[in-house]
């Protein structure tokens, strides 16, 4: 067997995260929330530090800080701040604050690298259960709200006229994002979570004619990148999280080239 037991667990963890990240990542791309995803993910380091100080579970700490960050950013967004500046400030200060806070935690030796870049090979059975529970929760939310989310993404007035509250849909995305960050922390680490959201979705775009096909393809590319990256990291003896993201980036590059070479697809990607 090529796969030892921990590799199987790692692969399953990667697939779980990739499946949940695919539809959510599509919304992040469609709604131009890439930086928003970054800010939410970077807040996770602060969550790790806080949960070490308060000796609560890391999952809970990360969920709470990510959610808080996402909520703060969405509530500040409508108040005249330039969004990219605001997000730049929030994302990096959360990361810096988290790193400072971690250094204050005395008596506990923590492997900071594992939180920054993930430690997929150390995924235990309990971690795997949590990852899949989180992934199922996010997939369930996406499936349940899919049409409303799409309508609200297209145009908030169209949504209102159909009796959909875009604010509530935004909240669902925010919540899902926090959950994905919390469960992906172990797999790719805070620095690369946004990559796992955005790259597979962007890779799927040139081959998609409908939102649904884009989400499905993104799931396929995401799952392919995580399992392939895991395999590659095993052979090349490279860090796993970054290898996964590198493979995703390679797929994106190939997809863009393929998109350029196919005239019919070109027509659909250009405005």
């Amino acid at each position: 067997m090529i796969f030892d037991d921990f590799l199987v667990r790692a692969a399953l963890a990667g697939i779980g995260v990739a499946l949940a990240a695919a539809p959510l990542g599509c919304f992040v791309v469609w709604r131009r929330m890439a930086y928003f995803g970054d800010a939410t993910a970077h807040a996770a380091v602060l969550g790790v530090a806080l949960s070490l100080v308060l000796s609560t579970s890391i999952l809970a700490g990360v969920l709470v800080t990510s959610l808080a960050m996402a909520t703060i950013v969405s509530s500040l967004s409508g108040r005249g701040y330039a969004m990219d500046t605001l997000l730049g400030v929030m994302a990096h200060s959360a990361l810096a604050l988290g790193l400072v806070a971690v250094s204050f935690v005395s008596g506990v030796r923590i492997d900071l690298m594992a939180y920054l870049f993930g430690d997929i090979l150390a995924v235990g059975k309990w971690d795997l259960a949590i990852i899949w529970a989180g992934a199922m929760l996010v997939l369930g939310l996406m499936h349940w709200r899919w049409s409303s989310l799409l309508t609200a993404t297209l145009n908030t007035d169209l949504a209102h006229a159909s009796g959909i509250d875009p604010g509530r849909e935004q909240l669902i995305l925010t919540l899902s994002l926090a959950v994905v960050v919390a469960v992906a922390l172990k797999v790719v680490g805070v620095l690369l979570i946004a990559a796992l959201l955005i790259i597979p979705a962007a890779t799927a775009r040139p081959f998609s004619r409908t939102p649904e096909s884009m989400a499905l393809l993104a799931a396929l590319f995401g799952a392919g990148s995580t399992t392939g990256g895991l395999q590659a990291a095993y052979w090349l003896d490279t860090p796993t999280g970054p290898t996964i993201v590198s493979l995703a980036a390679l797929l994106f590059l190939l997809a863009s080239l393929a998109g350029r070479l196919t005239p019919r697809v070109m027509k659909t990607t250009r405005q």
């Binding site: 049409s147 007035d157 006229a161 939102p211 250009r270």
Partner: protein, 241 residues
């Protein structure tokens, strides 16, 4: 049958009063057009009616079970979002293939179902928006400058479709428009808005009112007097003023 009653409506945006003391009732089967200068609160009024803005005071009462069809001023579609016409028509609720084909036909956009939204021309795009609004067989159709960016022929065709749809569905129509000539020939009632309602009534009455003069000037008034009784907007627009 009254579809919508607005009483004493006021809307503020960013601390600025945009609408004040609005009273308006809409009946089934009538076409009501809102006219007014830029910044007079036309779009704000429509947004308050569809529920995307919260009034500062006053009430908007819908008839029980009222179905709204809404055609926005412009719809920006992010290029990263792939969307066929057919899929767009099914948002937020799926409809049968036959229903979609029928709505496209009604809006004058038959055969566009498989196209990407991003590949449509401006005129086709507006027709698709109209078709989507018609899918649910609305009781009240709300259009916000739905013909913006269309050429003359496009505008004429659009209003012709609209009139046909009104007869077919028997719905009420509330629209904002800048095409004063067409407005006057297709509307049952015109509402002049400038923060509050300055005057309203049949196109003739509004065209004769001093408030309307003050708002749009004499030139428009003359043009309307000439064209009012021509029910074929195509001819009305073809003749030079």
């Amino acid at each position: 049958m009254t579809l919508l009653t607005i009483e004493n409506l006021a809307v503020d945006l960013g601390g600025q009063p945009i609408l004040d003391n609005i009273h308006l009732a809409l009946e089934r089967g009538e076409i009501v057009t809102i006219v007014g200068p830029n910044g007079s609160g036309k779009t704000t009024l429509l947004k308050a009616i569809i529920g995307s803005l919260t009034p500062a005071c006053g009430q908007i009462q819908r008839a029980p079970g009222l179905i709204l069809g809404y055609v926005p001023q412009r719809l920006h579609l992010d290029p990263t979002l792939p969307m066929t016409v057919k899929r767009f028509m099914g948002l937020p609720r799926q409809h049968s293939r036959a229903c979609i084909a029928q709505a496209l036909e009604r809006a004058g956009a038959a055969g566009l179902g498989q196209q990407q939204m991003s590949s449509l021309s401006g005129g086709q795009f507006q027709r698709i928006l109209l078709a989507r609004a018609l899918l649910e067989s609305p009781d009240l159709l709300i259009l916000d400058e739905a013909t913006q960016g269309l050429d003359q022929q496009g505008v004429i065709d659009f209003y012709r479709q609209l009139e046909a749809v009104r007869h077919e569905l028997g719905c009420g129509v509330l629209m904002v428009s800048h095409e004063l000539h067409v407005v006057m020939s297709t509307s049952d009632r015109v509402v002049c808005l400038n923060r509050s309602i300055c005057c309203e009534g049949t196109p003739e009455r509004v065209a004769a009112s001093p408030a309307y003069h003050a708002m749009f000037g004499q030139g428009v008034q003359d043009a309307l007097a000439v064209y009012r009784h021509d029910h074929h907007p195509r001819q009305a627009l073809r003749e030079p003023a």
